[in-house]
């Protein structure tokens, strides 16, 4: 999956700005109060590549296979403050500048290994990234994880979803479940 994304990205780059056509009508009707800080197509492609590196497809679906990247952008656009959305856009810009400096091309045109190296620097707050960049990235990562673990596939195949537990038991062997629960009282 990841390889396919990397092959398709140049096509995606030729597209215009993000139309938001993927958003459900109920969301479009409500929107973000202070005007949308929208992500353009390049942001969207970069987000897909980043998400795929955060949670790759293995023997099971990853972030991209569960469309967690798109869902994260929806939630980021509509449910987060404009301040954080702006932070993410600025982070993407910094990623691109860093990539241009080092690799002479934008981040979305890096090889998978090159982009992984760049993200590892970001995740570790290594130069050229600082603690603030790292914090923005971690929050973005948390959102992608949220979207992955609340997707139907992520919640049921990767984790254990108990819609109706039937009662509470205070002690069972972890090995009998084998994963964390995806079902929550509050998300």
């Amino acid at each position: 999956m990841q390889r396919r994304i990397f092959l398709k990205r140049s096509v995606s780059f030729t597209a215009g700005g993000l139309s938001l056509g993927f958003l459900p009508s109920s969301v479009n009707a409500l929107g973000n109060s202070a005007g949308l800080k929208s992500f353009d197509e390049r942001d969207r492609v970069l987000m897909r590549l980043i998400s795929g590196i955060m949670i790759p497809e293995t023997t099971s679906k990853g972030a991209v296979g569960t469309m967690s990247d798109e869902k994260a952008l929806e939630i980021l656009t509509y449910c987060y403050s404009n301040a954080f959305t702006t932070e993410v856009i600025q982070l993407f810009s910094k990623l691109n500048k860093s990539s241009e400096r080092k690799n002479k091309r934008p981040a979305a045109l890096l090889s998978e290994n090159e982009l992984t190296d760049l993200l590892e620097s970001l995740d570790s707050a290594k130069s050229p990234f600082d603690i603030e960049d790292q914090q923005t990235f971690r929050k973005l990562k948390q959102l992608v994880v949220f979207c992955f673990c609340t997707s139907q596939k992520g919640a049921n195949q990767e984790l254990t979803y108990l819609a109706v537990p039937g009662g509470y038991t205070g002690s069972i062997p972890y090995s009998s479940v084998g994963s964390a629960y995806s079902s929550k009282a509050y998300y």
């Binding site: 293995t58 449910c79 949220f146 673990c149 979803y161 509470y168 205070g170 009282a185």
Partner: protein, 575 residues
Amino acid sequence: MINDILVNTSEEVFDAIVVGSGITGGWAAKELTKNGLKTLMVERGPIVEHRKDYITEGKPPWEFDLRTKVTQKEKDEYYRVQQQCYAFHEGTKHFFVKDNESPYQHPDKKPFSWIRGNQLGGKSLLWHRQSYRWSQFDFEANAKDGIGNPWPIGYGDLAKWYDYVERFVGISGSAEGLAHLPDGIFQPPFELNVPERDFSKKMSDMHPDAPVIVSRCAHLTNPQKEQVELGRIKCMARNECQKGCSFGAYFSTQSSTLPAALKTGFLRIAPNSIVDSLIYDEQSKKVTGVRVIDRVSMKQKEYKAKMVFMCASTLGTTQILLNSKSRTFPSGIANSSGMLGKNLMDHNYNAHIQADIEGYDNEFYKGRRPASFYIPNIHFEKSKYHKSFKRGYAFAGGASREDWQSLGASHGLGTEFKEKIKNAGAWKISMQAQGEMLPRENNQVQLSQNHKDKWGIPQLDIDCEWSPNELDMMEVAAQTGEKYFKDAGFSNVKAQPTYKPPGLAIHEVGTARMGADPKKSVLNAYNQAHDISNLFVTDGASFCSSGVVNPSITFMALTARAVDFAVSEFRQGRI
């Protein structure tokens, strides 16, 4: 069935009107109708029918457009205050009031978060369901400390009513034999998990005055005949209660008091009816009914009754009483004492402690428990007060394994990270304090002189803040909690006093207090207005102090007791 008993207009003089349909309104209606009194329940919001109207119940996160998150625009426009409630999300927002429709005022430097649920069932659909009796120490504290107004009743007056409501409600919990946290009629408790059990053992050795017990909550764990007959069954540990529970496993108006009242045939309900004020007859010196504005049509109407029970929530009731002005009561009905609106209290949750627990790698749990562990107040009488403050606090908390919700922000990428978020992580433990707030007259609500809501009713001006007593208490609570966790051997202990404003505990009480002296209180020992024999206030407004424990089961006991008294008076022709 509900449709058959809805009232849109009526000339009938009911035996009783109950204003509000939440925890106390439901109880008042149940008890009044059980005694054969024709009762009209007046509710400002729409009907929420048990099961049918739990529109998000059982809906998994992936079926929500935004995975249960609410858009920023919607939060900004409609839920500026309500979004602060822990239970607010896309699956529950329809049970919260829209702030823009029901505004209130407060000084800029004294924020107050007024959380409301205006629909049939009120906040009984949203409450946290923790249920503890008050002790004799709580009822005596005002008198012994010389603070506020002495309670006109003691634990002995209320004990049998606690028994009565607990049997009906169904409270899970453990008997502990603590005088300052009296045992009740309990169904089997929820379990503590293994690290919590070990914490409990360590605490009993090192701090025997601060036992770690399982919390008591209004969830059925062994439903009794009376509950089963109402269609209620055992709690399934989904902990999605605020979406509504078709199992009827937790106590709400819909699951419990309403079906019981409906069975009598004596209940009528007027939904979408915003009570503007009470009608007072100067000659008989009694209330004769309520003035109502239809929420939808905006039309004004009146409903008549021989007595009125105010159960519209502490601040809702107070707003109506203040707005019920007459020649005799120019500053609000039943307010000859001048105490109406004063002494607003809430609980203070501003101390949070967390830590890591090592080990227990193969320990896990199943289900989402609606309970927690609980450490009762250790400062429950004057001789045990801390030198820095009066009264005390309890702790509630839990231990659980870290998971993707927190691990998502941790270091890592790729396959290893995917494996990390798939698995349960290390054990964590946290708890927060719940501290008593002292009654103070200058923590008060008044009717706004300048602002009205869309129905033309003066908004409330809420002027309330923590005093140094509450702030000092939370500093000490954080230190004490930190010590407990360190003594238990937990690592990475962090104690954080926070500064959330009053209101967020959603335990507001005190603005029409009870008391023996009519010059210093609004209500007598039976929640009956000193000034008006056929007016009763049985919600949190009637409290003289906030106590330490959650108030709702005491709301219920007071209401059942007040109705018993009112029915007796009614039958003897004194009302």
